[in-house]
C-alpha cells in the first residue's frame, strides 16, 4: 500500500524500520542505535499493524516501557527566566527557592537566546546554577535555553550532559538562535535552519558530546507563528528531541489577556489559523484546549506530541522585587542585569513563581536528570493548574496485552478485544497558593481516532474526537477511581483526560478567557497526555 514510500518522504531513513541497517549512512546508524536504546524505533518489522509500525515517535509498549507502579511522579517547570534574560529579573537562587517552596522536583532555566546572552551570560548563569544545585541537592536543575526557533516561535531546549554541560548548549545558541543569526522571520529557508538545528543536536548525541536533548515548543499560538507543518517537520526530523508543546502558556496572571495572548496575526503568522486560536481557553493554548484541534490532529497520526504547563516566569506577581535601574544599553553590554532590588511593596506582575500555579508532572523511573528527560520524551506527563489535582494514575489495559500502559504509552490488542481505562485521581486536600482548596468538578475521558500520517501536513483538525465519558467525583471523596471499558475495539485510537473545577465551561468545553479579568484561580483545568491503543 505504498506505506514504505510514504515513510521515506516524511521520516528520516534512520527512523524508518523499512530501511535496513546496512543501507544507512554511518551517522544515521548511530542515530538509529540511539533511538533503539530509547525504545523509540523498533529493531525490525514487528508484525504489528500499520498503526503501531511508525514507531519513530511515541513510545511503543515494549521492553522499554516501565512498569507504571514503579514510576515516581515528579513536578517541574521547563520554562524559567532569570536576570540573564533581557526582559526578566530574578536570580537563579530566587527561582529555585520558589520552585522548591512550591513543591517542584525539577526546573529548567531558559533564558532567551540573544547575542549578549551568548557572549556574556552563559558562564555566569552556570555558576549560579551550580551554586543552586549545591544549596538544593534534591532539585534537578538544568541550564537550558529559550530558543528563538528560526521561522517559528520560542522553544525550550535543554541537554543532558554529565561531563560538559555548557559547550554544546552555547554552541547551539550561537549557531541556531534566530535572534543571533537573524533567522527569526518566517521563510522556507529559515524553517530549514530550524530543522538543521535539530539535526545538529542529534549529531551532538551521536558524537557523545551530550547524552540527550529535548525541544518543547513554547506558547505555540501566542502569535500564530508555528504552522502545523512546522510542528510535523520538527517532530519527524528529530522525534527523540522535538517532543511537544506547552499546553498552557505562562503569564497566567497577565492583567490584560491570560497568558499574554492578546495579539492578532502579525507579519510572521501562519495564515491558516482561525482568529480564536490567538486567545487562551481556560488558560490553555487553543492548540491544546480545542477538542479535535491541532493537538488531536497530531495525535491522530498515532505518534507522540506531548503537552506541558509552565510558569514562563519573568517577574513574580506579588513580589516586592523590581528590576534595578541600569543605564541604557546595559543588557547589550552585559547579557545580564544586576540582582533585582527589594522595594518593600508587592508589585502586580504577569507571572507566577515556578510551581505556584502551573506544573508539569512526569512519571520518571528515577529521580535523575535522565529519568525526567526520558519521561518527557515518552509523554508520561500530566499537567495541572492551581493544585486542582494532587496525583493522577492512568492505566490502560488491553485484553491479552500484558502490562498496562500509562500516559504516553501504547497497548496493542487484537481486533475485537476490550480495552479498560482505569483512573485513580487524588484530589486537592490542602490549600493552593491562593489559599483555596480547589474542587475537581469533572474529569472528561476523551477518545480520538488514529488515522495515520496526515495527508495534508498543515491539517489541524481531527474530526473523530469526542468526550466518551465525564466522571464526577462525589462531594466527600478525596481519592476517586473511575473506569471505562471500550468493548470490541475495531480501530486504533487514543484516550486522553481533561479535568476542570467546572467554574467556566460552555457545555463541557473550556471558554475563551475574558480580557481584563485576571482571575486564573477561578478557572482551573488539568490535562493528561494520551495513551495509544493499537489494533493488530
Amino acid at each position: 500500500m505504498g506505506h514504505h514510500h510514504h515513510h521515506q518522504h516524511h521520516h528520516e531513513p534512520y527512523a524508518d524500520e523499512a530501511v535496513p541497517d546496512t543501507e544507512l549512512p554511518p551517522g544515521d546508524l548511530a542515530r538509529r542505535r540511539f533511538l533503539q536504546r530509547l525504545g523509540l524505533v523498533g529493531v525490525a518489522a514487528t508484525g504489528i499493524g500499520m498503526m503501531a509500525a511508525p514507531a519513530s515517535a511515541g513510545t511503543p509498549q515494549g521492553p522499554s516501557a516501565p512498569n507504571p507502579s514503579r514510576l515516581r511522579w515528579l513536578a517541574g517547570d521547563h520554562h524559567v527566566h532569570t536576570q540573564s534574560s533581557y526582559d526578566a529579573m530574578h536570580t537563579v537562587a530566587q527561582q529555585v527557592a520558589a520552585g522548591r517552596e512550591h513543591g517542584l522536583d525539577w526546573m529548567v532555566i531558559t533564558d532567551h537566546g540573544h547575542v549578549a546572552h551568548e557572549k556574556f551570560a552563559v558562564e555566569q548563569t552556570y555558576a549560579d546554577v551550580l551554586a543552586a544545585r549545591r544549596a538544593n541537592p534534591s532539585m534537578l536543575l538544568w541550564q537550558g535555553l529559550e530558543w528563538n526557533v528560526p521561522s517559528g516561535e520560542h522553544a525550550t531546549v535543554f541537554f543532558d550532559a554529565a561531563r560538559d554541560e555548557l559547550t554544546a548548549l552555547r554552541a547551539f545558541e550561537k549557531l541556531f538562535d534566530g535572534n543571533i543569526n537573524g533567522t527569526n522571520h518566517t521563510s522556507p529557508a529559515n524553517e530549514a535552519t530550524a530543522l538543521a538545528g535539530l539535526r545538529w543536536m542529534s549529531g551532538q548525541i551521536d558524537r557523545g558530546a551530550i547524552d540527550s536533548a529535548l525541544m518543547i515548543a513554547n506558547h505555540p499560538s501566542r502569535n500564530g507563528r508555528y504552522s502545523p507543518h512546522e510542528f510535523r517537520n520538527l517532530r519527524d526530523t528529530a522525534p527523540h528531541i522535538a517532543v511537544g508543546m506547552e499546553g498552557s502558556p505562562g503569564a497566567q496572571n497577565d492583567g490584560g489577556h491570560r497568558g499574554g495572548y492578546g495579539n492578532a496575526p502579525g507579519t510572521d503568522s501562519w495564515a491558516g489559523w482561525p482568529s480564536e486560536s490567538y486567545r487562551t481557553f481556560g488558560g490553555f493554548d487553543w492548540m491544546t484546549a480545542k477538542l479535535g484541534g491541532l493537538w488531536d490532529s497530531m495525535l491522530a497520526e498515532g505518534r507522540g506530541w506531548w503537552i506541558t504547563s509552565n510558569s514562563d516566569i519573568h517577574s513574580a506577581n506579588g513580589s516586592t522585587l523590581a528590576s534595578p535601574s541600569v543605564p541604557d544599553g546595559w543588557y547589550d553590554a552585559h547579557g545580564r542585569y544586576p540582582d533585582p532590588v527589594d522595594t518593600g511593596t508587592p508589585h502586580n506582575y504577569a507571572d507566577f513563581w515556578p510551581g505556584q500555579f502551573s506544573r508539569t508532572v512526569v512519571g520518571a523511573t528515577s529521580h535523575t536528570f535522565r529519568g525526567v528527560m526520558d519521561a518527557l520524551r515518552q509523554g508520561r506527563v500530566w499537567v495541572t493548574m492551581g493544585g486542582l489535582l494532587s496525583d493522577l494514575d492512568v492505566r490502560v489495559h488491553g485484553e491479552g496485552a500484558g502490562q498496562p500502559a500509562t500516559l504516553g504509552g501504547r497497548v496493542a490488542v487484537r481486533r475485537g478485544a476490550d480495552v479498560t481505562v482505569r483512573i485513580t485521581a487524588r484530589l486537592a486536600t490542602t490549600p493552593n497558593a491562593a489559599g483555596d482548596i480547589p474542587r475537581l468538578a469533572r474529569l472528561d475521558l476523551i477518545r480520538g481516532a488514529v488515522t495515520g500520517p496526515a495527508a495534508d501536513r498543515d491539517t489541524f483538525t481531527n474530526p473523530q474526537v469526542s468526550v466518551v465519558e465525564s466522571f464526577t467525583p462525589r462531594r466527600q471523596d478525596t481519592v476517586v477511581h473511575f473506569e471505562h471499558i471500550f468493548r470490541n475495539v475495531r480501530d486504533p485510537f487514543y484516550v486522553r483526560l481533561r479535568g476542570t473545577d467546572g467554574k467556566r465551561s460552555n457545555g463541557l468545553e473550556p471558554m475563551m478567557d475574558v480580557q481584563g479579568a485576571a482571575a486564573p484561580w477561578d478557572d482551573l483545568w488539568c490535562y493528561a497526555n494520551p495513551v495509544f491503543v493499537d489494533v493488530r
Binding site: 526582559d87 495579539n263 482568529s275 486567545r279 460552555n506
Partner: protein
C-alpha cells in the same frame, strides 16, 4: 473608481499603511494582505477615486513599490507577484485599515448599534454569542477583515463587554 495592488516588501505593516496613506490620503477602502512567498511581509490593496489614481501610482512607484492595476503590474520584480495578489484579493480577503463609514464605529456602542452603522457586514463574537446590548469598546481602532467577500468585525469578551479582536497596542516582545 480604481483599485491598486501595492507591494514594497514591508515587514512593518504600520509603515506600509503610512506609505499608502501618504500617497492616497483619503482612500475609499484600504486593506492589507499577508504575503507568504519568500520572506513574509505585507502588501496592500487600495480603492480610490479614478481621478487620483495616476498621481497615487507615481507616488507609490517613487517609493519603490510595485503597483498592480487592471491586470498590469509595474515596479520592482520582487514585488510584482505580491502586488498582483493584493489586487486579486481586494474586497474578498484582507484586513481593512480604511473603509466606508469607519467614523461611525467609534467610542463605545452596543453590538446592535455597531451593526446598525452598516460599516461592516457582520460582527463575529469569537468567544461565543453575546447579547445585542453588550457594550463594544472600540477604543477608536477597528480593523475588520474580509471573509469570503464580507467585511467582518471580530470581537472578543472583556470585563466591560467586548473589544475588537485586533487591538491597536499588542505586546509582541517579551515572554
Amino acid at each position: 473608481m480604481t483599485v491598486l495592488g501595492v507591494d514594497a516588501g514591508h515587514r512593518d505593516r504600520a509603515a506600509l499603511e503610512r506609505m499608502i496613506l501618504d500617497a492616497v490620503p483619503d482612500p475609499i477602502l484600504l486593506c492589507t494582505h499577508p504575503v507568504r512567498h519568500g520572506q513574509a511581509h505585507h502588501a496592500a490593496s487600495v480603492e480610490l477615486n479614478s481621478s487620483t489614481a495616476t498621481k497615487a501610482t507615481e507616488a507609490l512607484l517613487a517609493q519603490g513599490a510595485a503597483v498592480a492595476k487592471e491586470g498590469q503590474v509595474t515596479g520592482p520584480d520582487e514585488y510584482i507577484l505580491g502586488a498582483g495578489e493584493a489586487l486579486t484579493k481586494h474586497r474578498r480577503e484582507g484586513r481593512a485599515v480604511r473603509f466606508p463609514n469607519q467614523d461611525r464605529l467609534r467610542g463605545t456602542l452596543t453590538l446592535a448599534e455597531a451593526e446598525a452603522t452598516g460599516a461592516v457586514d457582520r460582527i463575529d463574537s469569537l468567544g461565543g454569542p453575546l447579547p445585542p446590548e453588550t457594550l463594544l469598546a472600540t477604543h477608536d481602532f477597528v480593523r475588520p477583515t474580509y471573509r469570503a467577500g464580507e467585511l467582518v468585525l471580530e470581537i472578543t469578551p472583556s470585563t466591560t463587554g467586548a473589544i475588537p479582536f485586533e487591538l491597536e497596542h499588542q505586546h509582541i516582545c517579551g515572554h
